[in-house]
Symmetry: C2
Subunit: 360 residues, 2 copies
């Protein structure tokens, strides 16, 4: 099925990307404005299933890299995607057939659509995470053994850097350092692959999923939060208000923590979220309620709009939910790369269903 990513789809997509971002991936409001403008100026981009593309088609996974706190005020100029594509085609000697979001979460779920509309290229209905993660090798392509090289990075000024590294960790180090020099955020592509490879190395259908999540909220007859929890199969961790935010932009990431104080039925409870671009863990009196790679999202209690970590502020009335990641992240390798220990936590991963079941 081909689908035109028209303004209504884009609005629903932005809502869904915010939820799937688990707080990260960049502010989808900015991503939406860019995508709407590109659709108006160049016509809407076409969403294609990976099965519709010839197996040897070249897919360019792409998006923004850096600290989302920076990217809300340091905006792309629009031609980054074309520059990434031009250099990737030079390096590979092949034409790019479709773009794909490296991560569906946040504005990074929308940015490839903006670029695709501008270039007249389709967008694959898939991504490399099914959510957002902070680091370059935290993608399903890495789990599948696809090389991150050659990677291409560019900024809004027109600088360009190409990376050919001996490992995913070196790619992360070098790209992060360049993103920091660029002011804390940049645009990039890594893990170039064919459509045939992508069929087994990505989270498939994630663009459609994000749109469905957005539509579920928009079309909700009762509580938008209830509709959203049902749409993602989520668990409520707490309903309350933001009591404290500690956030700093350092080494190319937004890091910090958020305290949510329970209200109503949750009065007396305090939940702490720890974040590195994304919400990594939710803790209550030292007990883990949910952790990476499962998703933790902070929703506006009225509208169910997910609030990205860089927009969290004192006094916001929120509902924190958690829900299951794509199964690929629950494999041994997935947990090794994106589980709690990968972020420096000294506890083992437990699925949110078990943790939420224990607390119910």
């Amino acid at each position: 099925m081909k689908r035109l990513l028209d303004p209504d789809s884009l609005r629903a997509l932005a809502r869904g990307c915010a939820v799937l971002g688990a707080g990260g991936g960049g502010d989808p409001y900015l991503g939406l404005l860019q995508a709407l403008q590109a659709a108006e100026d160049f016509g809407p981009a076409v969403l294609v299933d990976l099965d519709e593309l010839p197996g040897d088609s070249l897919i360019m996974p792409c998006g923004g890299i850096g600290a989302p706190t920076v990217s809300v005020e340091k905006i792309e100029n629009g031609d980054e995607g074309a520059r990434l594509r031009e250099h990737l085609e030079f390096l590979t000697g092949r034409r790019v057939a479709a773009l794909m979001a490296a991560e569906i979460g946040g504005s990074n779920g929308l940015l490839p659509i903006t670029w695709a509309a501008r270039m007249g290229l389709p967008v694959a209905d898939a991504d490399g995470m099914g959510r957002a993660f902070p680091e370059v090798p935290q993608v399903t392509m890495h789990l599948a053994g696809i090389s991150p090289s050659p990677a291409v990075m560019t900024d809004e000024r027109g600088n360009l850097v190409i990376f050919q590294t001996i490992s995913g960790q070196w790619m992360e180090r070098l790209e992060r350092a360049a993103a920091v020099e660029f002011g804390g955020a940049a645009s990039s592509t890594e893990f170039t692959l064919t459509a045939a490879q992508a069929r087994g190395a990505t989270v498939r259908g994630s663009v459609s999923l994000a749109i469905r999540i957005g539509e579920a909220v928009t079309g909700a007859e009762g509580s938008p939060v209830d509709a959203l929890v049902a749409a993602v199969g989520g668990f409520r961790l707490i309903t309350g208000k933001i009591l404290d935010v500690e956030r700093r932009t350092t080494s190319g990431f937004a890091r910090g923590s958020v305290i949510v104080e329970g209200l109503g039925p949750d009065a007396g409870r305090l939940i702490r979220l720890e974040l590195q671009n994304e919400n990594l863990v939710a803790l209550e009196r030292g007990r883990v309620l949910a952790s990476v790679p499962d998703l933790i999202s902070v929703l506006d209690s009225e509208t169910a709009d997910a609030i990205v970590t860089e927009r969290i502020a004192y006094g916001q009335r929120v509902t924190v939910i958690a829900f299951a990641c794509d199964p690929v992240w629950r494999t041994e390798k997935g947990i090794m790369i994106a589980g709690p220990r990968a972020f420096g936590y000294d506890f083992d991963y437990l699925p949110v269903e078990e943790l939420a079941g224990a607390s119910a």
Copy 2:
């Protein structure tokens, strides 16, 4: 004239490169060991004048980048030059005809010779500074309007980064950040140019000059320091001993200062050298005795061996000399890019001949 860079030439060259390094460019002892080994394993490299190369021949300026304090213990593995060449040829679609030292100073005057011997390529009798400077755009090619892009950087592990920037300053920022990630030092090529361009955009004959300087010291019948001062047309600033060294490796540079206490006829005098990889300024009671872009070198008072900034140590008996830079650095643009104000000093450049004349 073609000249084989045999072991005797290399030993003389290493002495000369140390003097022309003005304290920087990396320890020439390490560079010499590598060059001798390469000459033994692969045969000596050939030194060619730029006039001997067809005008459209591609010249690859190259060397090490980073903090010399790091490069004394983080050694190249030898194949960096071949990797730089391979990628530069891919990027330009042309064959590299000859290597050239980006800077003749320190081990960077020898490293391209090691690589050239390994690859069977000639080395051009020229460089981009006539000395050593700490930053990427501080080369004569930049003064002549040659683009630093595409630049290629690699490390001893096999990582590789290509830079295409909008300015020399962006090249410096991005390359420095990558060099820091690599551990503080890496290998790179920038400012690729043709032989025809190089004839008007480099310091010509600097390899031969460095060899002549080395030979003048080796063949000295009287004081090696006297012979060296005569060979470079230098001025003695002080003879004494190292009283204090303050040195730190930060942001990809070795920075700090050195105090030299006069002995003998200079008893009672104190001179302070300030350094960023290279010796930048020599001060006595706040008065400037010499400054960039002119060269300040610290010599062993017995042997006239120039001591690189990372090897300066308490108690060494030294003679500090200063001598004139290549005239290209005394132009308005040269002083803007490599004069005292380019390094943050609040005084105007005066040629060492005037300063030394005033103090005589």
